[in-house]
Symmetry: C2
Subunit: 218 residues, 2 copies
DNA sequence: AGACGTTTCAAACAATTGTTTTATGTGGGG
DNA sequence: CCCCACATAAAACAATTGTTTGAAACGTCT
């Protein structure tokens, strides 16, 4: 436990469990395959963790302790356009950066399709704050001319463009064969999604008070 | 077999299997629960279908025979703006229309996270043609000023906004509690996504020929 | 009614699952 | 040297899995 790099059986178990859970899901993942990949005995799971479920919790938690923050530290100083770009870029990094173990995103996609009790915790701790924050940025970009409903739609539009790349790898691979292979992919993609969304926001009509007095609402 | 409503054991099996597969995934779904819900004997699965896998294929297939086409029949006559709107609306209907059994989308979300051999077939038969088609519409909307790479990005932007509502129910429910409950939700949402994308496309610079001559492309 | 193909069912099968038990090794103080 | 807490390993356990079996029930002909 001297460095950040853990090599004990417990850590190897979590790493192997992450891969297997991501590939097959919770129930279909077998303890015997996990322990085989980790190079330890079958009983190790019940020794280091109470049972399979606790191993899963530990794995999910480990995956999100490693997740970097989506918001720039000097948020206040940046113009909202740059804050949006930073957010999109950080989010895409999680999904597409090949240096990140790819089972993080896979596990999350699974939780969406078949939520476990653990998901609620993650939502409250990490997703909701980020969502609130980006929603505020988008509201600022609209200059206060969007009402709550429209702001919800716009927020999901931005999030949707990003998480698409986490949850639809097979489709993307098949439709746009050279898309995922491009170098500096994350940079290009973040640039596009930001520009696309900014262009949309700037030219979207505000709350349909028909057409007059747009500027005086604030 | 006189009407469109099937009530035989085979049909009841498919219906029950759809729910169970959607809830638990292929491997975690048990034949005993499926047959219990369908009100038939355990052996019925191996009688009407060869095995569990063939039941799954039949279920997946059934879910997509029920899927309506995403393209308007009179496509040629409509302006591209309306073709986009129709596409978005039809796609959202699949995910959000409460009259549609909700396990259709769930099953698909699962296939994305853990593709089975069946997925490739679906991609080739139904996804790719639709994707090609909407990509063409978007290209037309851009007046031919987008290159292949940019067009890929724009297509995924539109698709991402739509499929977000299929694959992230727990998130949406938790962040935007009153969003999914709105009446005429599909109509409002389709309107937003269409307007958002159109506004973006109209104001996106074309292939970065830097900054001049934007207006003359049309 | 009797014979026959089809459908349904309860029971049993072998294989695999998560978990527990029991035994074996390992190091460090008394 | 022995004892003991800890770590690892092999084997066994009970429960559940998909699948098969063989007999009973059903309907339809001659």
């Amino acid at each position: 436990m001297s460095t950040t790099e853990e090599t004990g059986p417990r850590a190897r178990l979590i790493e192997a469990a992450g891969e297997v859970f991501a590939e097959h899901g919770f129930r279909a993942a077998t303890i015997r395959e996990i322990t085989r990949r980790a190079g330890v005995n079958v009983a190790a799971v019940n020794y280091y963790f109470r049972d399979k479920e606790e191993l899963y919790s530990a794995t999910l938690l480990h995956a999100h302790k490693a997740a970097c923050t989506l918001r720039p530290e000097d948020a206040g100083a940046l113009p909202p356009e740059d804050r949006l770009h930073h957010f999109v870029h950080a989010l895409l990094s999680r999904f597409l950066d090949p240096r990140r173990p790819r089972w993080h995103g896979q596990l999350m996609a699974r939780e969406m399709a078949e939520p476990t009790p653990m998901l609620r915790h993650l939502i409250d701790e990490v997703f909701r704050p980020n969502c609130r924050w980006i929603s505020g940025v988008l509201s600022e970009l609209g200059g206060g001319r969007f009402d709550a409903e429209q702001l919800d739609y716009i927020t999901t539009s931005v999030l949707g463009q990003c998480v698409f790349y986490r949850q639809n790898r097979p489709i993307i691979q098949s439709f746009f064969p050279d898309l995922l292979g491009r170098d500096a992919l994350v940079d290009r993609l973040a640039r596009h999604i930001t520009d696309f969304s900014l262009a949309a926001i700037r030219n979207l009509p505000g709350k349909s008070l028909h057409h007059e007095h747009l500027a005086e609402s604030r």
